[in-house]
Structure formats: structure tokens, C-alpha cells
């Protein structure tokens, strides 16, 4: 069996993973009321625009003039147009990326949800007293699926629905809307698990396949190692024979 090798070297690839994890945790702490969207690309975009649009206190020394300095929001200054256009394009990108992430999440989480039930059953069997699970899949859906929190933070005037549907395409719009609607619901509105009681009685097929595959592979490897050991023994006998 393989043994651990001292002094061979620390993982160079662990660094980026650990750094990413630290950055994500720091972002969670500093974000506060702005939960970051899923995916590294989304998170970096969100952080980028948070930095670009800092809120500063108005200095008292500014000479604002006698009358109100409000300007019409419909006609922003040319200097701001570029920034708003960049924000719009970022939201479009966020929307399309979030839709792709949602699709991949849905296909993955369908399979993963079933394992939660199995884990719960195992824990209930192992422990004398039952305790509620620390996480429910509903809590994860806003984080895993969508840029909704990021887009809602941009203000009521911005309509991500229309812009995103225009960007993604009219055919995708109804599907996108039906997928995104659940994310706007509070994750705490229902305590029921995602899967029905009838579904919770059986393990997902994918997990069973993996377990069977693991047993099959293990058996094959053991058989192959035995065959190899026999062949090596015969070979060493051939080479050790006097000439």
C-alpha cells in the first residue's frame, strides 16, 4: 500500500483553493446584507461593481447652489451613461450566467437531494435522539441558483426581468421566469423537505450505480493484482535460472 511521503512538497494547487475559500468567507463577512451570487465569475463581478460604486458622504464644503440640484433621472449626464451601460451589461451577463448555473445546479441537485434523505435516515438510525438537520436544500437554493440578490440590490428602477429576457431570447424567457420564481420565495416559508415522503424511501439510482461501480472496480483491481503477482513470480524465476 502507498505510504505518505514526508518532505516531497506542499501542494502548489492547494494555495489557490485555500485562497479562494478565504476570499469567499471574507466576502461573506463583509457583504452583510448583500449575499454574493453563486460562481466565481459572478462573485468577482459583484465585488468589482461594489468597489466601483462606493457610497461617499457629501462634503459640507460643496457649493450646491440655492435651488434643488436634482436632475432628471431619465437624462443622466454623459459621464454617468458609460457607468450605467456597464452596469446594464454586467447585469445581462450575470443573468445569463446565473441561468446557466441554475440549469447545471438543478441537474446536479436533483441527484444530491436524495442523498440528504439517506444521510438523515442513517443519522436517525445511528443516534438515539433525533435532531433536525443543520441545512435544508431550500436554504441553499438562493445561493446556488441565481443572481437575484445581486440584481435586486440595484434599485427598483432597474428591471432585470425585461433586460435579461431580451438578452437571453424570448424562447428562454418563460422557462427562465418559472425557474427563477422559487428563488424569490423565502427559504424559511416551508419546513417541508424538497422530496416527498414516497421518494425518500429509496436511494437515488445514480448513487447506487456509483456504489456498485466501486465494488466492481475493487474486485477487478484485486484480481488483476493477483494475476500480476503470479506473472512477476514466474518472470523472476526465469531470470534467476542459471544459464
Amino acid at each position: 500500500m502507498a505510504s505518505k511521503w514526508p518532505g516531497v512538497g506542499v501542494s502548489a494547487r492547494r494555495g489557490p483553493l485555500q485562497e479562494r475559500e478565504q476570499l469567499a468567507e471574507e466576502a461573506e463577512q463583509t457583504a452583510g446584507g448583500h449575499p454574493e451570487p453563486s460562481g466565481g465569475a459572478l462573485g468577482s463581478l459583484c465585488r468589482h461593481f461594489q468597489r466601483r460604486l462606493p457610497l461617499r458622504a457629501v462634503s459640507r464644503n460643496l457649493n450646491l447652489g440655492a435651488g434643488p440640484s436634482w436632475k432628471r433621472l431619465e437624462n443622466p449626464e454623459p459621464a454617468r451613461q458609460g457607468l450605467q451601460a456597464a452596469a446594464r451589461s454586467a447585469k445581462n451577463a450575470l443573468g445569463s450566467v446565473s441561468q446557466r448555473i441554475q440549469e447545471s445546479c438543478q441537474s446536479g441537485t436533483k441527484w444530491l437531494v436524495g442523498t440528504q434523505v439517506k444521510a438523515r435516515k442513517r443519522r436517525r438510525g445511528a443516534q438515539t435522539g433525533s435532531r433536525p438537520p443543520t441545512h435544508t436544500p431550500g436554504q441553499k437554493s438562493p445561493r446556488l441558483c441565481g443572481a437575484a440578490p445581486a440584481s435586486s440590490a440595484l434599485g427598483p428602477r432597474e428591471r432585470p426581468c425585461h433586460r435579461l429576457s431580451g438578452h437571453v431570447g424570448p424562447r428562454a424567457h418563460p422557462q427562465w421566469r418559472s425557474r427563477r420564481e422559487p428563488t424569490f420565495r423565502s427559504p424559511y416559508s416551508s419546513t417541508e423537505p424538497l422530496c416527498s415522503p414516497s421518494e425518500s424511501d429509496s436511494d437515488p439510482e445514480g448513487l447506487q450505480h456509483l456504489q456498485r461501480l466501486s465494488r466492481q472496480l475493487d474486485g477487478a483491481i484485486v484480481a488483476e493484482e493477483r494475476r500480476q503477482a503470479t506473472a512477476d513470480h514466474e518472470l523472476s524465476g526465469i531470470h534467476a535460472a542459471p544459464r
Partner: protein, 274 residues
């Protein structure tokens, strides 16, 4: 021993490596010297010599003393064959492609051993094995490394009609053996990850989901790789059927892959003894 630059259809690396394994195990000669000799052979301009050197290195990594792979893992670079091309022979063009892919796999294998500080293909399996007993943090660090090595293995990407000589066939057999062990470790890691999924932090959940999604994509590619092995019919492991594995793997992704019986009967199998 002289290093033949002839492409012999009856190439049997086991005889040469048996000598080398004995050399490493029973003498006090350093593995560093052996690795230097093989590296020197890998710098030849002849694809035959280079390919044989790579196969020998791989064979020693799989069957040889652990000191050998440990030494290779400690080297900063192993093979620099990403631009290799032998235009002297007709078969040189095709074989050069596989040399470039094969050397990349061996580099990744060596690097993975360095990062994980052990050879994952030789790690203990089962419920008390290495991958099943890792904690979440170790899993999230280790599984991407395994995935990258697995990708390099699958990128060898040889079709049955391209395994036209004994050398590439020997390389393919070693890759096939590695694929079983590597995927077994990968699979066990995923099972462990799924078991821990709902106890993870949010950031870890995101990473885990990404790892699981990539794993599912790799199972499809593995099924294609096993199809090539099945067609070759050179895989004869008692109690193991490549076709059964293909059906298991494809069952995770979707409908079963088409059978290859017609192609298998048409193709003459080549059996290489190890």
C-alpha cells in the same frame, strides 16, 4: 543493455523492466541514476526510443519500487516532450501525437503524487481506505488533483485502429490499468463527498457541486475509453467485464451506450503479456 530503436510488434516491456526493478530493489545504485538514464533516452529524436523510454518509466511507476516514483515526484520537471515530432518515419507523425499526450500524463501522474504525497493508484481502498476517510478539506483539495490526472489519462484518446504496434499497445495497457485504479479512487472520493455534502459550509458546497458535476462528465469519457479496451480484447481480468462497467457508468448519465460486438468480431485482437 542496448536500447533497440526497432518497433517490434512483440514488444514486451516486462522483461526489461523486470531487470530494472531488480536493479532498483536489490542494488544500492540510486534511482536518481536510473531516472537520469531514462530521461536521457526520452530526449532522443526517434519516436521508438522515446516511446519505449516512456513506457518503461510508466511500468516502473506502476510495478516498481516506491522509491522510484517518489524520486520522480520530487523532480521539478519530468518530460518536456510537448513539442516532440519525429518526421523521419511514416508512423512518426501519428506516434508523436501519442508521445506528447503520454508524456503529459506521466508528468501529471508525477505531479499528483507530489501534491497528494502518495501514489493515489496504490492507496488503500474500501470503507477504511484513503479516499473514504478523508475529511472535507482534504477531499476538496485532493479530488481536483485526481480529476486533472484523470483528464490527462483520458486525453490519450486512442482509437482501436490506432493501436498498431506493440509499443503503443503497451502504453495503452498501462493506461488502462491506471484508469481502473484512478477512477476507483475518484469514485470513492465522490461517494465520501456526497456523504458529507449537507454538513458542509456554503462555500464548500459550491466547490463540491462543481467537483461532482465534473465527475459526471468524466464518467462519460471513461465509458468511451473502456469501449476501446473492450474492443481490443486484450483486457482479460478475471471477474471484470469492461462492458459491465460501461453499462454501469452510462447508467448514471443516461441510456446505455451502443454495444461494440460487431466491431469486436471484425477486429483481430492483440494480446500483450505482462
Amino acid at each position: 543493455a542496448s536500447w533497440s530503436n526497432k518497433c517490434d510488434c512483440k514488444y514486451q516491456p516486462c522483461h526489461l523492466t523486470a531487470y530494472l526493478i531488480q536493479y532498483v530493489n536489490e542494488t544500492n545504485m540510486s534511482v536518481e541514476h536510473l531516472a537520469d538514464v531514462l530521461s536521457e533516452k526520452a530526449r532522443s529524436s526517434s519516436w521508438v526510443v522515446v516511446f519505449k523510454a516512456l513506457v518503461t518509466v510508466h511500468h516502473l511507476m506502476v510495478h516498481g519500487n516506491e522509491r522510484f516514483i517518489q524520486h520522480l515526484a520530487s523532480r521539478s520537471s519530468l518530460f518536456t516532450l510537448h513539442n516532440f515530432l519525429d518526421k523521419s518515419a511514416l508512423e512518426g507523425y501519428a506516434m508523436s501525437t501519442f508521445i506528447r499526450r503520454y508524456s503529459r500524463y506521466l508528468n501529471e501522474k508525477s505531479l499528483a503524487c507530489r501534491l497528494i504525497t502518495s501514489d493515489i493508484t496504490k492507496a488503500r481502498r474500501g470503507m477504511d481506505g484513503m479516499m473514504r476517510t478523508m475529511d472535507t478539506k482534504q477531499l476538496l483539495n485532493t479530488l481536483p488533483v485526481i480529476q486533472i490526472q484523470f483528464d490527462a489519462l483520458l486525453n490519450f484518446n486512442a482509437n482501436p485502429d490506432q493501436l498498431t504496434n506493440g509499443i503503443i499497445h503497451a502504453a495503452f495497457m498501462l493506461l488502462f490499468k491506471d484508469s481502473l485504479r484512478l477512477f476507483a479512487a475518484y469514485n470513492e472520493g465522490i461517494l465520501n463527498l456526497l456523504d458529507k455534502y449537507f454538513d458542509m459550509r456554503k462555500s464548500q458546497c459550491k466547490e463540491s457541486l462543481d467537483i461532482c458535476t465534473k465527475f459526471l462528465a468524466r464518467t462519460t469519457r471513461l465509458a468511451e475509453f473502456l469501449k476501446v479496451a473492450e474492443v481490443q480484447k486484450s483486457v482479460s481480468i478475471h471477474g471484470f467485464s469492461a462492458g459491465f462497467c460501461i453499462s454501469l457508468v452510462s447508467g448514471i448519465m443516461g441510456p446505455p451506450l451502443p454495444t461494440t460486438h460487431a466491431h469486436a468480431h471484425a477486429h483481430t485482437p492483440k494480446l500483450v503479456e505482462f
